[in-house]
């Protein structure tokens, strides 16, 4: 299968005072296109650092990571911004919607930075919101929406740039169990439609909802296994 992400011997060092922290200590893995996988681990395991590198927010100290043909370590700041805009769709734990703007405008935001024509941008944003089940709430502000609805807006926003990779950081962390399951179902549906989805979480139950779990601890991968299909599609 065609690999979307290929990571080889990734190392990320941080300087914390006099101490050098090895946030990533030789991580290698590969994720094919169309995958639905979770990266799990307790805090300090290096999963957030890995996510930042996967999302083009950070670059590795050494090792190589190629995503959709882009060698992340070789990109400069400006190209990284373009990479985040075109290749990555971010979903955050706390939604990160702009409070003063409507659902529609929030979804338009990445397309503004891509320089998409306003009319086209509005149409696509409306389409995406309809796709995540919010076709009736285009003009609502985030404060007028429930947590689950806000996360759906955030997912629609992540899809706006037709990204090669949907990258979600604890997407159910701020939601109740039931709403969280609905959001995971949405990811599963999007994956069935062809999207590559990577969830980063500390919650093994959430990870079990995906088709593959990569387990991390102390900056290394300590487990990588497929999940049973029943769990993935419950």
């Amino acid at each position: 299968m065609d690999a979307l992400i290929t990571a080889e011997n990734l190392v990320k060092l941080y300087q914390m005072g006099d101490e050098t922290v090895r946030a990533l200590d030789g991580v290698s893995f590969s994720i094919p296109r169309g995958a639905y996988c979770a990266i799990v681990g307790p805090s300090g395991s290096g999963k957030s650092t890995l996510m930042n590198i996967l999302g083009g927010l950070d670059t590795p100290t050494s090792g190589s990571i190629v995503i959709d043909g882009h060698d992340i370590g070789a990109l400069d700041d400006e190209t990284l911004a373009g990479f985040r805009n075109q290749t990555i769709g971010f979903v955050f734990q706390s939604f990160n919607l702009l409070a003063r703007q409507t659902a529609l405008e929030n979804v338009e935001l990445p397309m503004i930075y891509a320089g998409v024509d306003p009319k086209e941008r509005r149409e696509r944003a409306a389409e995406l919101l309809t796709r995540v089940g919010l076709g009736q709430r285009l003009g609502h502000k985030p404060t007028q929406l429930s947590g689950g609805q806000q996360q759906r807006v955030a997912i629609a926003r992540a899809l706006a740039g037709q990204p090669a990779l949907l990258l979600a950081d604890e997407p159910t962390g701020a939601l109740d169990t039931h709403t969280g399951e609905e959001i995971l179902q949405l990811f599963a549906d999007l994956n069935k439609e062809g999207a590559t989805v990577v969830l980063v979480t500390h919650d093994l139950e959430v990870a079990a909802a995906t088709r593959r779990t990569i387990e991390m601890r102390d900056g290394r991968i300590i487990g990588d296994h497929a999940n049973t299909p029943e769990l993935a599609h419950q």
Binding site: D77, A81, R84, F92, I112, Y113, G115
Partner: protein, 409 residues
């Protein structure tokens, strides 16, 4: 690449989010620009006023008076013994100088005038017909006496507008008689009004033939051919300095005086005007400069609020970066917010400044002078303030690390 329209929309949106804060921030620039505009307009008005006053005395004019001058040629003191130094033969000699259009001797007298049952104290100038040309007077009604009438010492006068207003409030004075120092004179004309010079009312004047005034009004016991002033009009402003030197040289020869020991003074109104201009100009710069300090304070206010805004919106900046905003996009967005604030402040300040200038100039009875270039400059300068003081906060925003920024609460 972000579209310019989206950039503007995003900046105005951010400013509208906090209308009171935006207004207060702009207020600094508003006060700065409006005070600069008002102060400069006030200074320019004063300058214009001085210029008008001096122009109304007569253009391209040299005035020769008896007595030595103080240094600079502006202030002059009447030296002892020089009071009768100017004579009619000096006038004839000066009129031979190349480039001189008119030379007009005059003798000043002060007299009580009675007419129509009213009386009025004014200056009576004994002049020759050339005086009208030399001093830019025009006759509004009636006529001027001619050279023959002047030599014959006719008892004919022309009245200035102020004299007419006081002695003939409701009637045409031409053809009427007035009494000056016991003699009866006929009014043959009225002078067109010139207005105030700021120091004195130029229209408070009576013109009479020079010979008449010498014999009957000024009551001087001295020589019959002396005059109190000679007005010399040059053909063009360019000749003025040269003619001033020629007149000085000529009179030194005629009076046998040496430099520093002159018994006469040649005043150049253009140079007096220039001195006055320079004085008021310094005044304008001073006022403008002081006001510019408040504009600077306004700029610092913008920087302060923009820094607060960047701190408050750290998370938003992180999000925008995660979604693909480049450093240049963030820099432009925050820079544009600052510039929008300062230019909006500049426009409002300009309007208020013009209003303030209008109020002050009407209060002080000055002409309202607002050069379009100054107005444009005020707007441009406020824009510059936005760029300068918005640059640092915008740079701080653009340089934020998105990971750190997203982690911030």
């Amino acid at each position: 690449m972000m579209r310019p329209a989206d950039l503007v929309a995003s900046a105005t949106r951010a400013l509208q989010a906090n209308p009171l804060r935006s207004a207060l921030t702009a207020l600094g620039v508003i006060i700065g620009v409006s005070s600069v505009v008002a102060m400069v307009a006030l200074g320019s008005g004063a300058q214009q006023q001085v210029q008008n006053s001096i122009n109304s005395l007569g253009s391209n004019l040299l005035i020769v008076v008896p007595g030595a001058a103080q240094a600079g040629g502006v202030r002059m003191a009447v030296g002892g013994g020089g009071r009768d130094s100017l004579t009619l033969s000096d006038v004839d000699a000066i009129s031979q100088i190349d480039g001189v259009v008119a030379v007009a001797p005059s003798q000043r007298g002060v007299a009580q005038i009675v007419a129509n049952g009213l009386n009025w104290n004014t200056q009576v100038q004994g002049v020759t017909p050339a005086y009208l040309t030399a001093r830019d007077w025009t006759v509004a009604s009636g006529r001027m006496f001619d050279d023959t009438e002047e030599r014959q010492a006719r008892k004919e006068v022309l009245l200035g507008q102020t004299v007419v207003d006081n002695l003939f409030p409701n009637m045409d004075p031409v053809g009427q008689n007035i009494r000056i120092s016991g003699g009866t004179y006929q009014v043959i004309g009225v002078l067109a009004a010139k207005g105030q010079t700021g120091f004195q009312d130029q229209d408070d004047i009576v013109l009479a033939p020079l010979t008449t005034v010498k014999r009957r009004i000024s009551g001087r016991n001295g020589r019959a051919d002396t005059v109190s002033q000679i007005s010399v009009k040059a053909a063009s402003e360019n000749d003025l300095d040269r003619i001033q030197e020629d007149v000085t040289t000529l009179l030194r020869q005629r009076h046998h005086t040496a430099e520093g020991d002159d018994d006469f003074t040649v005043q150049n109104l253009a140079s007096i005007a220039q001195t006055a201009q320079q004085t008021t100009q310094v005044f304008t710069y001073l006022l403008g400069g002081i006001s510019a300090v408040s504009l600077l304070v306004g700029g610092i206010g913008i920087m302060n609020i923009m820094l607060v805004s960047v701190t408050e919106r750290t998370r938003e900046i992180g999000l925008r970066k995660a979604l693909g905003a480049r450093q240049a996009d963030i820099l432009r967005q925050f820079g544009l917010e600052a510039v929008t604030l300062s230019i909006a402040g500049g426009i409002i300040g300009l309007l208020l400044g013009v209003l303030g200038a209008w109020l002050m100039t009407s209060l002080f009875n000055l002409p309202l002078v607002i050069a379009p270039t100054n107005a444009a400059l005020a707007i441009a300068f406020s824009g510059l303030v936005g760029v300068v003081f918005g640059a640092y906060p915008a740079w701080r925003a653009a340089r934020l690390d998105p990971i750190e920024a997203l982690r911030r609460e």
